[in-house]
């Protein structure tokens, strides 16, 4: 079974927990297998929990590929010589492509 780790803010109703949520003392707050509801967002935030592990529908989302095509990377080659590792970095690359031709302001 594929799992993935998401931010609490990304919770959608119907997602299934694959690991128990514990507090700092190791006490279980929500058990593994629980089907999450919208209200859990707030509850988890109140507990200070930031990330949870959920069941993932497809293998693809389990280890998403953020790598940019060779063509994309060649446009940026004078400035960027790394491949994105997560969605934040792929947004950075997207931003770099938007601003690639702009003048320094």
């Amino acid at each position: 079974m594929a799992t993935r780790v998401i931010n609490v803010s990304e919770i959608e109703s119907g997602m299934e927990l694959t690991e128990p949520v514990k507090n700092r003392n190791g006490q279980v707050l929500l058990g593994s297998g629980l089907i999450l509801e919208e209200k859990h967002k707030l509850i988890l935030k109140t507990w200070g929990i930031k990330k949870i592990s959920i069941k993932s529908e497809s293998e693809e989302t389990a280890s998403p590929n953020y790598e940019l095509s060779e063509e994309g990377m060649s446009i940026l080659k004078n400035r960027i010589n790394w491949q994105p590792r997560n969605y934040q970095e792929s947004e950075l690359i997207e931003l770099a492509l938007i601003f690639n031709d702009s003048e320094t302001i």
Binding site: E10, I80, E91
Partner: protein, 282 residues
Amino acid sequence: MNLIDKILSSINSLPTLPTIFAQLSEAMDDEYVANQRIAQLISSDQASAFKILKVANSPLFGVQKKIESINQALLFLGHTEVKNILLALSIVKKFNTKGDSHGLRHIDLWAHSIATGIISRNLALISGQQKVDNYFLTGILHDIGKLIFIEFIPKEYLEAVKFAGNEKILIQDAEKEILKIDHAQAGQRFAEKWKMPQYIQEAIQYHHIVQTPRGTNHLISILHISNIIARIMRLGYSGDNLVPQPNIVAWDDIEINRGDIISLKEKILSDYKIAVHTLLID
């Protein structure tokens, strides 16, 4: 005298903070000093007071109502933010000499730093930080070491900037190679000399490597990423054209949702234009 000693002794010979700032810090640290007294202190310097109001009213701080007096600024933004705005203004004023003979212009470097400050504050807000009043200032100050270099060892620094360009390496690597000290270290020394709070000194010193001996924190992680975003958006110029990959530790430390970075783009651009105008041009 070797170069490092020369830089350090130049930092030590710098005059300390403007008197008004010292008086203000003291007054603000004392919880029994009324806003009225603090407002009086700031207002005694008309030019500064005027600029503080301009900055405080800019969209960056998101105050809906127009702030008409220092008293109101203290009320809406809080002591720390007002003090930080004053410190940012004092430092920009102090180091904003004109001229472009150094390969890296003051004004472009300030533009980069202001952009970093704006992005930091916006990222702090969007990632749910409760206390955001130090982000703008830390962004403004993170590259202060480069200004120290331009000011005190212009010839050697020009060499480092050229070296970075020719070798296509990051400016901090060129600094280490040519000067044997980088701007993060020099900036920390300056911040120490000006008795800036520990967390600011630390953020300046570790803004590339993120991990301090005591671990990391949101301020440094957000500063680290904002510095890179400012480079990506080409806001100002910081000495080279490269965009380094963020330290993965920084991403783990802050919660940024899918789409957040892209969605901030317009806000960053409009905040940036206004702030550059207010801080550098007016």
